[in-house]
């Protein structure tokens, strides 16, 4: 039997205190979670519950302070080159054109421009940016920038794709378009996806499974739900199906408790 794509084994992530003497801040505590190869897993939870911390732990940007995270059976201690990471904020380098940004991962690998460009152009085409390759980021809209980031990440063909609320800054129409595009690309070769969001609709429409995290600090998975909605899906239409409505009510009941708890703690 092969190892799961990602495994959290009693993983906790603590941050050192701001002032000496204060207790350390534990963002997530005792997380045990398994994501199978080829699975699309969404993580939802109230704001500030350490969703991004989980992704950083898998990526190796900040490995857990206790317990462990394993990627394909290997303990994570450093940056995971098998993972692609799509961040919430804009991470394109402003001094590179869209094409150069998409090519960046290959540039870091020492691939020459000539060798890289067929792939780069193919990805620009796949995300619908054929004519925009020579534009600089400031000349692109928010949605176009996200598509450049998506192409930049997926071009390297990562085995595991980590996504941190990648579409949260986009307007609803653009977001639905991007979500459908993501599903199309994902359906083509079914990579493992760990998708973090605070938007339950987005989580249900995209994922195979949805995990609800508890309110922070020290948050942990409360419950996992299987999303048995057949694929291919269209995120704009799926919301009207009875399956979706039933799941939404069910998951929201769990999520609501955590959101309320988070709200009370904050006040």
């Amino acid at each position: 039997m092969t190892a799961p794509a990602v495994e959290f084994i009693a993983a906790s992530c603590a941050f050192p205190p701001r002032k000496p003497g204060d207790p350390e801040y534990v963002a997530v505590r005792d997380v045990s979670l398994t994501i199978a190869e080829g699975e699309f897993m969404a993580v939802v939870g109230p704001t500030g519950c350490g969703k991004s911390t989980l992704l950083n732990a898998v990526a190796g940007i900040r490995p857990p302070s206790s317990g462990e995270v394993r990627v394909r059976g290997q303990k994570v201690t450093d940056i995971q080159s098998a993972c692609g990471y799509l961040f919430q904020s804009d991470t394109l380098l402003p001094w590179l054109t869209a094409r150069e940004n998409v090519r960046l991962g290959l540039t870091y690998r020492g691939v020459s421009r000539k060798e890289a460009d067929p792939q780069v152009d193919d990805w620009l085409h796949r995300v619908g940016l054929d004519g925009a390759g020579d534009r600089y980021p400031y000349q692109l809209s928010g949605g176009m920038k996200k598509r450049v980031s998506l192409a930049q990440t997926l071009l390297l063909d990562p085995q595991i794709i980590l996504m941190d609320e990648p579409f949260s800054a986009l307007d609803v129409q653009t977001r639905h378009m991007m979500e459908n595009q993501l599903l199309d690309i994902w359906a083509a070769n079914r990579k493992t996806v760990l998708f973090v969001t605070h938007d339950l609709e987005e989580a249900i429409s995209l994922a195979d499974r949805v995990v609800v995290l508890s309110a922070g600090p020290g948050s942990h998975p409360v419950r996992t739900f299987d999303i048995n909605i057949p694929r291919p899906r269209d995120v704009t239409e799926i919301v009207h199906t009875p399956d979706y409505i039933g799941l939404h009510a069910q998951i929201w009941a769990t999520l609501k408790e955590q959101v309320l708890m988070n709200y009370q703690r904050a006040n």
Partner: protein, 262 residues
């Protein structure tokens, strides 16, 4: 205001500027001739102009101008280069930065013009001492901007690049240096002025050639018109050098919304 100004063409603004300059010069000339302004203290535009063109007609100025421009350019290039390298080294090495921070602040706070006599002793009365003075002035402007430029890079941008496979060398080349470069260009405009200050003050305090030397000579015989002609000459070349920086900026910062021309 800004929206209204858009209606007029650039040529219109140049015409207005030229008119303003002419009026100011005419008023000055008239004041000097009528005795309203003491011309032995404030000079006279026509005489300034005559001296100015006499310099070029006789060819006397070229030698001095070349010396001053050479000192300025050398100070600008070397000061920027040292500032860039030092800024990058310190920005990428936390330990070094923390240790050296108070020393750098002290050096920067020190009025560096007072170093001119020491440099004259160390490097002689030739261009060397002026270049050294210019370097101390330019260095810190560039240095602090590089430091800021590297700090300005967001942690997410670095994490993102590392996820794409960047090692430290890649980060320096593709992330830190380009970010620092944009900051350096904003500082180069003031650095051009600083380099001129270094050259001219240096010449002023002890030299045998250069525009600063000409100004000093004229001042010692109370020839205000020549002093002003020298100042005008330096201003013109400072503007030209500044324009050169602007051209380089437009080329190198094409990606920046402020510098691109569409």
């Amino acid at each position: 205001m800004a929206i209204q100004a858009q209606r007029h063409s650039p040529a219109f603004f140049w015409a207005v500027r030229l008119l303003l300059l002419t009026v100011l010069l005419a008023a000055w000339q008239w004041g000097a001739q009528s005795g309203l302004i003491a011309s032995y203290l404030f000079g006279e535009p026509l005489k300034v102009g005559r001296n100015f063109f006499a310099w070029f007609a006789s060819g006397k100025i070229y030698y001095h101008l070349m010396i001053t421009l050479f000192e300025t350019a050398a100070a600008l290039v070397l000061g920027s280069l040292f500032g860039f390298v030092a800024g990058l080294c310190l920005a990428l090495n936390n330990f070094l930065e923390r240790v050296l921070d108070p020393f750098l602040k002290a050096l920067n706070a020190m009025p560096r013009v007072v170093l001119a006599p020491i440099f004259a002793v160390w490097f002689g009365l030739g261009p060397g001492s002026k270049i050294a003075l210019g370097i101390t002035l330019v260095f810190f402007v560039v240095f602090f901007n590089v430091l800021q430029g590297v700090r300005e890079v967001s942690q997410t941008a670095i994490d993102s690049s590392r996820m794409l496979g960047a090692d430290r060398r890649h980060l320096i080349r593709h992330v830190y240096v380009p970010s620092a470069t944009s900051w350096v260009f904003s500082s180069l405009h003031s650095a051009v002025g600083m380099a001129f200050v270094g050259a001219v003050i240096g010449e002023y305090l002890g030299s045998a050639a250069g525009v600063g030397y000409l100004i000093l000579q004229a001042e010692s015989v109370f020839d205000i018109d020549t002093v002003i002609a020298g100042i005008a000459l330096l201003t013109i070349f400072a503007l030209l050098l500044d324009y050169g920086v602007t051209l380089a900026e437009r080329r190198l910062l094409r990606w920046h919304p402020n510098f691109s021309r569409q």
